[in-house]
Symmetry: C2
Subunit: 163 residues, 2 copies
Amino acid sequence: MLIQLVKTLPNVFSIGNFICGVLSITINMSGFPEASAIFIFLAAFFDLFDGRIARKLKADSALGIHLDSLADIVSFGVAPALLFHSFAPVSLLTSFAFILFPTMGVVRLARFSAHPTRGYFIGVPIPAAGLILAFMGLFSYSSSFITIILAVLMVAPIKVKKL
Amino acid sequence: MLIQLVKTLPNVFSIGNFICGVLSITINMSGFPEASAIFIFLAAFFDLFDGRIARKLKADSALGIHLDSLADIVSFGVAPALLFHSFAPVSLLTSFAFILFPTMGVVRLARFSAHPTRGYFIGVPIPAAGLILAFMGLFSYSSSFITIILAVLMVAPIKVKKL
């Protein structure tokens, strides 16, 4: 019973990541984009631990892997893109960057789930890209150029070592 | 070459579903919740066809299944919850319903991806639940009670026939 309870701990962390992503979007909608950035950092805190705890507890599960990926698209794909959108001036380039970022994020996550790699990633992981946008948002800064570069790096055929 | 191009068609539909979900959230953020509901319906149009086209073209792929699931959490989990949030009066019950809906949605999607069923679903599918909230939003209507019931139905151990 206790062991089963402990084994659900990584999933609780993934759900924590997801809820922080949803709250980040809501707070941004309510007109507090800087606070919304902080929730993306909080999501990353949960995300950092779910995989580690799962491996430590030997509780890696198919359910856990899917939960992690579904939380990531909201917290590090959609929420950071909306944060960028809140600060960026209205232009065609802004709209392009705003759509490209989460779309490349979703392609990256689906690819990784379909063909997982061990010890390394192909392309920059979505939490890293999302955190850079969140960090920029914390200082009310936006750049379509950086957002597009990050979007492309997520699906670029480059090997990135797992931390 | 042409066959390969045709086989990516279902994935293009899933990405269409995802982009409609992102646009629904953005339009809601810009103060047009009714228009945001329409984008959830558009997402459902894309969602209806991706699986069918994939089966017809015999182009079902692991990538496609993951793309579909990642699009669904945004378009039928997060976007409808935010739509509900736009119309609902501020209260503890509203906040509870607002968080519960996408959270049960993410659990449902992760469960289905981890243990897929054929010909039937366990629990109400997330597009159905999301579309009910979108339909309510179209008439500027919200109900915490209905939102909580839908959230619970998504993870309830009931068999639902696939359409």
